[in-house]
Point group: C2
């Protein structure tokens, strides 16, 4: 959106404050967006793609264009692109695992390059980037609705679904990927109940998924992560549905820490394990999951008060091998993980 003076700004929900408070933040400062990404105020692979592009657009509209115009370099466009480079790199590096962040940044940079190449002045380039972000938001919702429609066909009436982390409206522009399938299936009367893993240490399941599902009137039961196995053994899970942060060419997929364990449990109990993600989550440069960088975060997320002599390991993601993934659902359809179309 734009503020009263027409300058671009980004409106986002500070997800750290949910479910206690639904707080909308607005900023025109690209560095604030980078901090929001690092602090998990904004999270979810598709949302990160948009946030990455938005940070670039905010820099362009509120900093870059003016600076390129005022600098005395030979060409305004090249000056703009020269300054854009390190900004784009910094945004893309805010978090390492979800490929969508870098994808969103690259998409914005490519749009800027095209605009500069066509001779547009920097102010116009910035306007184009603003439009690009608006377009990405609309596109993401459309992609999610397509994922929902494809994925809902995988579910039988009366389905009891287990999910891990949050791949819902909060982690996307709107509607969600894994939860997009839930919403689409629920609209068809197919969803009996969703079980949400609380998803330690950050609690995206407890704080975000449970909150989001209750607002959407989808019956929801919250469990601790270590209860999922019992739930499956009791015959109370018909399908597992999760999102993804980066999918390698062979179908190996990184997602929130704990996803891999749920996949192993699902296989042990003969329960189908579905991943849902936009095609932008696929990273064809990686042949398999071993090359996906796994972000390790602050031990204080796990242990707020350090205990002397106690170390903490806090990886934010894990990689589920393609062999444990029943199907991957993208906006293009339902695929065996090794046969993705992208």
């Amino acid at each position: 959106e734009r503020d009263g003076d027409g300058r671009p700004r980004l409106a986002y929900i500070d997800q750290r404050r949910l479910p206690g408070e639904l707080a909308f933040e607005r900023t025109g400062d690209w560095r604030v967006v980078v901090d929001a990404v690092k602090s998990l105020a904004v999270r979810g692979a598709p949302a990160l793609g948009i946030a990455g592009a938005a940070a670039v657009a905010l820099w362009a509209g509120n900093v870059g264009a003016a600076r390129a115009t005022s600098r005395g370099c030979a060409g305004e466009g090249p000056c703009f692109l020269e300054e854009l480079g390190p900004v784009a790199d910094e945004v893309a590096a805010a978090r390492p695992t979800a490929v969508n962040l870098a994808w969103g940044v690259r998409r914005a940079v490519a749009r800027a390059r095209r605009a500069v190449a066509s001779g547009a002045p920097s102010a116009l380039v910035a306007d184009e980037l603003f439009d690009e972000v608006k377009h990405m938001e609309a596109e993401d919702e459309a992609v999610n609705r397509a994922i929902g429609a494809h994925g809902a066909e995988l579910l039988a009436p009366g389905s009891r679904i287990l999910t891990h982390c949050n791949a819902g409206s909060l982690g996307t522009a709107f509607y969600g990927t894994a939860l997009g399938i839930v919403y689409a299936a629920a609209a068809q009367g197919k969803v009996e109940r969703v079980y949400a893993d609380e998803t330690r240490p950050v609690g995206q399941g407890a704080r975000l998924t449970a909150w989001e599902l209750s607002r959407a009137n989808v019956p929801c039961t919250l469990i601790c992560d270590d209860m999922a196995a019992s739930l499956m053994a009791a015959g109370r899970v018909d399908a597992v549905l999760v999102g993804a942060d980066r999918i390698a060419a062979n179908g190996d997929a990184a997602n929130k820490i704990g996803t891999y364990g749920v996949a192993v449990l699902a296989r042990h109990h003969g329960i189908p394990f579905y991943m849902a993600a936009p095609t932008s989550t696929i990273d064809p440069t990686l042949p398999d999951g071993s090359g996906i960088p796994i972000e390790e975060r602050d031990p204080a997320e796990v242990l707020p008060q350090p205990l002397p002599g106690v170390e903490v390991w806090n990886p934010a993601f894990d990689v589920t091998p393609a062999a444990l993934i029943t199907r991957i659902v993208t906006e293009r359809g339902v695929f065996e993980p090794g046969k993705l179309v992208y």
Copy 2:
């Protein structure tokens, strides 16, 4: 122990306040012990066995003996036993899953019956119960040291061990069952590191095991429950060691919620899964694990602030089938789960 007036009382650590505070509580009131058991101030199957007997002994020494003496019924001993019955039932029912609690109560009642049958006056019966509890404490430590010695033989030098919940000094009279094996193996220089699952929702791993291991100078890394699968996939776990709350005749075993999932993950990764427990944890009246009652606890343990429209499922235990247990270690030795000696 006894207070300044010679009346029996129980000293215990309020485990709810660890690791922030090491608080010793003392009470002569059997109902306070029952509350401590219900609230998890005292927990751990072997510790519950002692607490159960201690509650009976406190009732006998501080209430029952005096009442039986003062009542005008035909025989003092029968009066005492008559009143003991409902007290014993109430203590034994404080928590349903760990069989040791009822076992400890039964042991105290049996001792009281024998004393009454031999013609002892109630005050002497109470003294005998006091001695019984002291004896059980010493016996539990000896049992744990035997478990430790047997179990340590299962571990190779340089072992990296994953544990779930707390089966250490805090859950027993002293030394621990699963952690007893760790302490014995560490004394032999065999333990490279222990990984402690935090063990949601109550956090016995984060609050108790990590604290206990750090005090014992055993290298310890705390992880969230949903990180165990990644740790195993990375080849960083050589063995899983856990305690048990009730073991059926066929070797199926209940333990803290999440244990079953860890067992499935260990099997998937080809990692041995060992359970350690005193013989008093075996319940030969149950042919298999399907008959073990699973306690469901307050949703507030999982979700302190209720979310409208969100249900919570909070089972405190799960059952690991014998087929997933590599060996069960008791004070009598190391057994295949189906071939337990008891």
